[in-house]
Amino acid sequence: MLPLWLQWVLWGILKAVLVLLFVTVNAIILIWLERKVSGHIQNRIGPLRVGGPAGVLQSFADIIKLLAKEDFFPKRGDPWVWWLAPSVAFAPALMVFFVLPIGPHLVVQDMNVGLLFIVAITSFSVLSVFMAGWGSNDKYSLIGAMRAGAQLFSYELPMVLALVAVTLATGTLNISEIVARQQGMWLIFPQFLAFLVFYIGAIAELNRTPFDLGEAESELVAGYHTEYSGIRWAMFMLGEYTNLLTSSILVSLVFLGGWSGPLLPGWVWVLIKAYLLIFVAMWIRWTLPRVRIDQLMDLGWKFLLPLSLLNIALTGVYMAVMA
C-alpha cells in the first residue's frame, strides 16, 4: 500500500489529467462543430470533402499546422507579459472545471461556494486580454485589449447579479445543491430574467459575435491576439472554446436542471443541454452583425444591469411573500 500522501498526489494528478483530457477533447469537438454549423448556416459544405469521415480529421490537421508554425515574437514587445498571456487565458478556463459537476458526484471538488469560485476565476480572463494587448506592442492589439477589458468588466457585473438572484431563490452557492433544488421545476422558468441576463452576458464574456469587439476583424485585424500565431494563438482559441463549454455547462446546471432527465445517465443530459446552448451561441454568431462599442456599453450598463437588479428585487419580494 502506498503512503497516504502519495495516494493523494497521484489521485490529484489523475484527476487533473482527466479534466485536461475532457477539456481538450471537447475543444476539438467544438472547433469541428463550429465549422459544421457555420458551413451549414452559410450554404457552404464545411469540412466534408476533406479530413476523413465528416471532416473529423480537419481539427487534427489544424493542430499539426499550428504546432509547425513559426514561433513569432513582435519586435519591442514585452516578452514576459507576451509569453504568459496565452497561458493566463487558458488557465482560468481549466480551473473552473474543477468545481463544475458534470453529473451527480462527477466533480473534482464539490465546493460549498462553487458559484462564487467560478465568478472569481472567470474574472481573470480580462487579465490575459490586457497582457496580450500590452505585450504585443501593437496599436490594434492595444485598442482590442481596451475594448475587451471594458466589455468584460461591464458584463461581469450583471452576470454576477443574475447569479445573486439564483442564490436567493435556491439558498445555496453549491452547484450540486442548486441542481438538486431544481428537481420540481427548472430554474429557467421562475428565473427567466436571470437566465436572459446571464446568457447574454456569457456570450459577451466569450467575445463572440455580436459582442466580439475585442477581436473585431473589420477594424482591428484580430484585436488583442493580432500578433500571436501558431500554438500561442491556438492557446487563445482553446481558452475561448473551453470558456464556451464551461459557460454552457454552467447555464445548463444552474438554469436547465443539470442532470435531471429521463432514461439517459446524468452526465449525458448535462452535455446534451450544454451542447444545445453551444449550438444557439454558434447560431447567433453566424447570423448577427457586430454591435458598436457605445451600444455594447449601453446594453450592459443601461439594460442588463437594471434588469438584473429588478430581478433581484422581484425574487426578494417573492421570497418574502412566500416565507
Binding site: 457555420s38 448556416i41 452559410q42 450554404n43 457552404r44 496599436k139 490594434y140 485598442i143 481596451m146 475594448r147 459575435t209 455580436p210 466580439d212 469587439l213 473585431a216 476583424e217 473589420s218 477594424e219 485585424v221 453566424w286 447570423t287 448577427l288 452583425p289 457586430r290 454591435v291 458598436r292 462599442i293 457605445d294 451600444q295
Partner: protein, 386 residues
C-alpha cells in the same frame, strides 16, 4: 510613440475641444488590412475609439492608365479600360465605346442597344450584391457575404456564357457587341431574375437589412448633407443617399434607358442606412429594367453594326462622355488631335471622388463606423488609383 504627430496638431486639438484630455494615437489602417477593400491606406487619428481624422492615402494600385492609353488606337483601349473598375467592367468598356460612337455619330441597332443595357444592369446587380456582402462584413456579419457570393455566382456564370469571361469581358465593340447572346440565354436570365427577386432578395432583407443591430449601426452614422455631397461632387448612391435624385440614366439617357420605366431611389438623411437602402432598392430597379429590356429586345438585328468606319479617327476637339456606373457617374474626357488614338484621356472615377467624403463622414464617429462608412462609399481601388 512620439508625441505630436504630423497629422494631428495642437491647433486641431484645440479646435476639436480635446486639448489635454487624452493623447491621440495615429494608426495606419492598411494598405494590408482586412476591410479596406483592396490596397487603401487610411492614416487615422484616434482619440480612444473616436476618429479625429481619417486621411486616405491612395496610389498602391496605380497603373498609369491615362498615360499608357495615350496614342493607343481606340479599339485597343477597351480591354485595358476594363481593369479600371474591375467589379463592374461592362461600364468601363461601354464608356470607351460610347465616347467614340458619340463623337463619330455611329448609330447602333436596337438589338445591340438593348443587349448593352441588359449587360450593364446585370453587372450593376452583381456589383451591388458584392457591395451588400462586403458591407455586411464591415459591420461584422459574415454570413450575408457568403449569401451574396452564392447569388453573384449565377450572374457571373450568365455573363461568362455570353462573353466568355467572368470579370473582365472585353465584350463591347465600337458599334455594338462582339457576339450575340447564345440560345436560351435570355430564358436563363429570366430564371435568375426570378430567383433573385423571390428567394435571394428576401433573404438579404431577413438576414441583414431588417436586423435591428444593422439599423442601429447604420442609422445616423456618417451623415453627408445634401450640400456637402454636392460640394464634393459626389455621384451615384452616395449622392442619392443624401437626397439628390441625380442619375445619369435619367438626366442624360443613353442605351434604352429612355424607353424603360424605373425609379431613382433617394435617401433622406445621407447616413449609412440611406446609402445602403438606396443600393438595396437599386438592385430591384435593375431587375425591373432587365425585365423590360427583355420585352423590348427585337428578334432580328445586327449586334455589331456595319456602319462603323474602317479607320476610327476622332475629329480634333474635346469630348466628354458619361455613364451611370454602380458607383456613380463615370466619365471619360477625350482630347483628340485628329489621330488614330487620343492625345489625352481623363477618367472621371466616381470612387475617387466619393472617397474624398470619407474624412467628412468619419470625423467624430467611432472607429468601427469609419469602416462602415468606407463600406457605404463602395470604392474599387482599381478605379480610385487607375
Amino acid at each position: 510613440m512620439e508625441k505630436g504627430s504630423e497629422v494631428y496638431t495642437a491647433e486641431e486639438a484645440g479646435r476639436l475641444g480635446r486639448e489635454g484630455i487624452t493623447e491621440p494615437i495615429v494608426i495606419n489602417l492598411g494598405p494590408q488590412h482586412p476591410s479596406t477593400h483592396g490596397v487603401l491606406r487610411l492614416i487615422t487619428t484616434l482619440d480612444g475609439e473616436t476618429v479625429l481624422k481619417a486621411q486616405p492615402d491612395i496610389g498602391y494600385l496605380h497603373r498609369n492608365w491615362e498615360k499608357i492609353v495615350e496614342g493607343w488606337q481606340y479599339p485597343q483601349i477597351i480591354p485595358f479600360a476594363d481593369r479600371n473598375d474591375y467589379i463592374s467592367a461592362i461600364f468601363n468598356e461601354w464608356l470607351v465605346c460610347k465616347s467614340v460612337e458619340d463623337a463619330l455619330g455611329i448609330e447602333l441597332d436596337k438589338r445591340a442597344e438593348v443587349l448593352r443595357t441588359i449587360f450593364a444592369e446585370l453587372n450593376r446587380l452583381i456589383s451591388h450584391q458584392l457591395w451588400f456582402g462586403t458591407y455586411a462584413m464591415d459591420i461584422g456579419a459574415f454570413t450575408p457575404f457568403v449569401y451574396a457570393l452564392r447569388d453573384r455566382e449565377w450572374g457571373y456564370a450568365l455573363l461568362e456564357k455570353a462573353t466568355g469571361a467572368r470579370q473582365l469581358y472585353a465584350f463591347f465593340r465600337i458599334g455594338g457587341l462582339r457576339n450575340d447572346v447564345p440560345d436560351g440565354w435570355i430564358e436563363e436570365l429570366s430564371q435568375y431574375l426570378d430567383y433573385f427577386e423571390k428567394e435571394a432578395y428576401p433573404q438579404y432583407v431577413d438576414l441583414l437589412t431588417g436586423n435591428e443591430i444593422f439599423i442601429q449601426r447604420s442609422e445616423g452614422v456618417g451623415v453627408v448633407s445634401r450640400d456637402v455631397a454636392l460640394a464634393f461632387g459626389a455621384t451615384g448612391p452616395v449622392l442619392r443617399g443624401s437626397g439628390v435624385p441625380y442619375d445619369v440614366r435619367k438626366a442624360h439617357p443613353y442605351g434604352v434607358y429612355g424607353e424603360v420605366e424605373f425609379e431613382v431611389p433617394v435617401g433622406e438623411h445621407g447616413d449609412n442606412l440611406d446609402r445602403a437602402m438606396v443600393r438595396m432598392k437599386e438592385m430591384l430597379e435593375s431587375v425591373k429594367i432587365i425585365r423590360q429590356c427583355v420585352e423590348l429586345l427585337p428578334e432580328e438585328g445586327e449586334v455589331l453594326t456595319s456602319r462603323v468606319p474602317r479607320v476610327l479617327k476622332l475629329p480634333e476637339g474635346n469630348y466628354y462622355t458619361r455613364l451611370e456606373s454602380p458607383r456613380g457617374e463615370v466619365g471619360l474626357w477625350v482630347v483628340s488631335t485628329g489621330g488614330l488614338g487620343p492625345y489625352r484621356m481623363k477618367w472621371r472615377a466616381p470612387s475617387f471622388v466619393n472617397l474624398q467624403l470619407l474624412d467628412h463622414m468619419a470625423r467624430g464617429e467611432k472607429v468601427a463606423d469609419l469602416i462602415a462608412a468606407l463600406g457605404t462609399i463602395d470604392i474599387i481601388l482599381g478605379e480610385v488609383d487607375r
